[in-house]
Subunit: 384 residues, 2 copies
DNA sequence: AATCTATCTGAAAACGTTTTCTCCGCGAGC
DNA sequence: GCTCGCGGAGAAAACGTTTTCAGATAGATT
């Protein structure tokens, strides 16, 4: 249905103080029209005469009327709210991602319901349920620990579209959007080779978690694709400062001729810990050992030495995330209505969309800063 | 009204896949009861016989029913949602604050609608309007730029309680919760004095913004209360890395006998910039110059040298914020209903609460790390 | 045996919107 | 002189809950 007139907007200055809980009925009374007319002015999807339109707008402003989003949502079955489930909003990667997601959602007229799962599977599922109850139009979930069985089961209970973000959830019935660690890793290895490094170590994340394994494998593959044959020195642990510290300690123990002259850390925090630890062992970065980190949050360039990183495309990722969710919503809206009455007792495994939305991968890149430099002279000599 | 039985909870594992958009009616049908009975099981505020209760719970689980929060909110006039307006969620101070706010809100059964005002007054007011439409039960606003007139006008349009957080809004008709910079500042000056420093400079924030002025005045007062008479060296600018860098440059120009041996920065970022800049001028921290920062986010201890800071009580602040909002909501609920029909055309300046909620101040503290140390020997000598 | 409670249940109203349906008036086309 | 279509307005039905109100059943008390 075409819009006949611009719906009335609620700009800042024009509203005037008034009693609370004003309803469309009050507005109608004040304007001397029916509530239908007020609604038409509000939504703009039916013609209203010039004069009545004016009276309604006036009444709205004088009463400080704010439409009740609950009632509207109930009626039109859409809320213009998106749910975002993140493992830890205090983590700069997620908080920066949340920022751009919020920004783009706002741009499209959507609000964000923020859920911090605190890395708990229990809470993640709880939030999934909550968002379903709140009837959000879409969800973006950066999954902590939920299994795909659980998520799939929950997903079939909701009408919202759901996008797995950043962390892949194998088996999950729904699209995924994230970054491919390989391009950045390939660049990183190339960069280090060009600087004369030949022994390049890796500080990886926990074994067994998907995204951690993926990053590690990408680095190893980059390693091989550059023709390095030797098995790299590897240290593993959670993505934390502590892991980096331990890696540094282990590194310092190694005889200098076996010690990597460069290390790629799969986490920003491990990189910080690593550098600190190396420092405390009298090893300078990048003079003695070069370090490549991950993620490229604002702190990477604040840190001394400023951290060379395999950068995730945070901006692009947030932008694409909301675009993708919106696109999924459109597709879902065009879809034929659900296949009428399912047989009683039948567990309906209806896929959210008839035509499945494809996964989407954004490339990582290398951002060179000061934590990487030429391989130390001794190594360079041996090279020559 | 007493609760007769525990309302049915929606635990993770027990829900089973089913078609979407299940309503209380479907549940009632499946269980062979009326919708009233289902509702009673849901809310738990009326007795339901053992047998019917069982059947209803069973039906709920089999259908994967999730109550519609919109309909419920519409009916009971509460949403269990709190709005949070922050200037920039990517700023670690705000993201850490948001984290603990979300955590405590969740603890009390509330969700958080996140609004990132991007430091824009326009958007802040827009969000205020939005949250009103969404009928959130309460708002916490860390105000960027809105004036109290605007906020007051908007506030009288909402039924939600609203708390000004962190940044004071003079003239705003509503309580404020924030930190008092003085205790931390007093400790900081004392700490520096004990280390032998006598010339202590200040990198302050922009002149004219409330919280910036407050911090500055607190530091100056601490200065005086410790008996320092000389006017401190002062550099001003926005709370940014760049300001710190410029301050460092200015500092480096000073003749050494006039140069402060310690600097207190009113912002974490200024402190980082300052240290970087001093470094680039060949001045070591803390050997040549000690630096005290602000805020105590996670980065402060990651940074090298780890930053001594005047710490804001982030945890406590977030916790108190939601407790206070909840308490305000209770008070508002007990309040006599609004004084009936206001005269037509009357602008009702109704205060949100009959008995105003008092402002609340939490103390800052000093956290000593490595960026502060004994005053350099030359200064110490002159002292002796 | 009749009444009185206490406990439980269901029908229906309400919450504040949007939208369908009906109706009205009016100018255009036959 | 009708009908047709169309711009415009209002009444009323829906959306999915909670809650009030009125009954029903059963056990206890007279």
């Amino acid at each position: 249905m075409r819009r006949h007139r611009r719906p009335v907007s609620f700009r800042a200055g024009k509203l005037v103080a008034a009693m609370s809980r004003v309803t469309v009925k009050d507005v109608a009374e004040k304007a001397g029209v029916s509530i239908s007319t007020v609604s038409r002015v509000l939504t703009g999807n039916a013609p209203v005469s010039r004069e009545l339109h004016r009276r309604v707008v006036e009444a709205i402003e004088e009463l400080g009327y704010r439409p009740n989003a609950l009632a509207r949502g109930l009626r039109i079955r859409r809320t213009a709210v998106l749910g975002l489930i993140v493992p830890d909003i205090a983590n700069p990667f997620f908080s920066q991602l949340a920022r751009v997601i919020e920004q783009h959602a706002h741009l499209h007229g959507y609000s964000i319901l923020l859920c911090n799962s605190e890395n708990s599977r229990e809470r993640e599922l709880q939030y999934f349920s909550l968002l379903t109850s709140q009837r959000v139009d879409g969800m973006m979930v950066i999954s902590s620990a939920a299994t795909h069985e659980q998520l799939n089961r929950f997903q079939s209970n909701t009408d919202a579209v759901v996008l797995a973000l950043d962390r892949r959830i194998p088996g999950f019935r729904g699209p995924w959007l994230g970054a491919d660690p390989y391009p950045g890793a390939y660049e990183a290895v190339g960069h280090l080779l060009a600087l004369g490094h030949r022994r390049i170590g890796i500080v990886r994340g926990l074994e067994g978690t998907i995204s951690s394994d993926e990053r590690f494998e990408a680095i190893v593959r980059a390693y091989q694709d550059h023709g390095l044959s030797e098995d790299p020195w590897v240290f593993g642990g959670p993505y934390s400062v502590e892991t980096g510290v331990q890696a540094g300690n282990a590194l310092a123990q190694l005889p200098v001729e076996k010690r990597p002259t460069a290390v790629i850390a799969a986490s920003e925090f491990s990189a910080y810990g690593l550098i600190q630890s190396l420092h405390s062992h009298g090893l300078a970065v990048p003079e003695d050992i070069s370090v490549v980190g991950y993620d490229n949050t604002a702190f990477a360039e604040l840190f001394r030495p400023a951290l060379t990183v395999i950068a995730q495309p945070i901006e692009r990722m947030g932008e694409r995330a909301v675009e993708k969710v919106l696109q999924m919503m459109e597709a879902a809206a065009d879809e034929p209505p659900p296949p009428v009455a399912p047989l009683p007792g039948t567990v309906r495994q209806r896929p959210r969309l008839a035509v499945p939305v494809p996964d989407e991968t954004l490339p990582t890149t290398l951002v060179v800063r000061q934590s990487t430099g030429p391989a130390p002279a001794s190594a360079a000599l041996r090279l020559a």
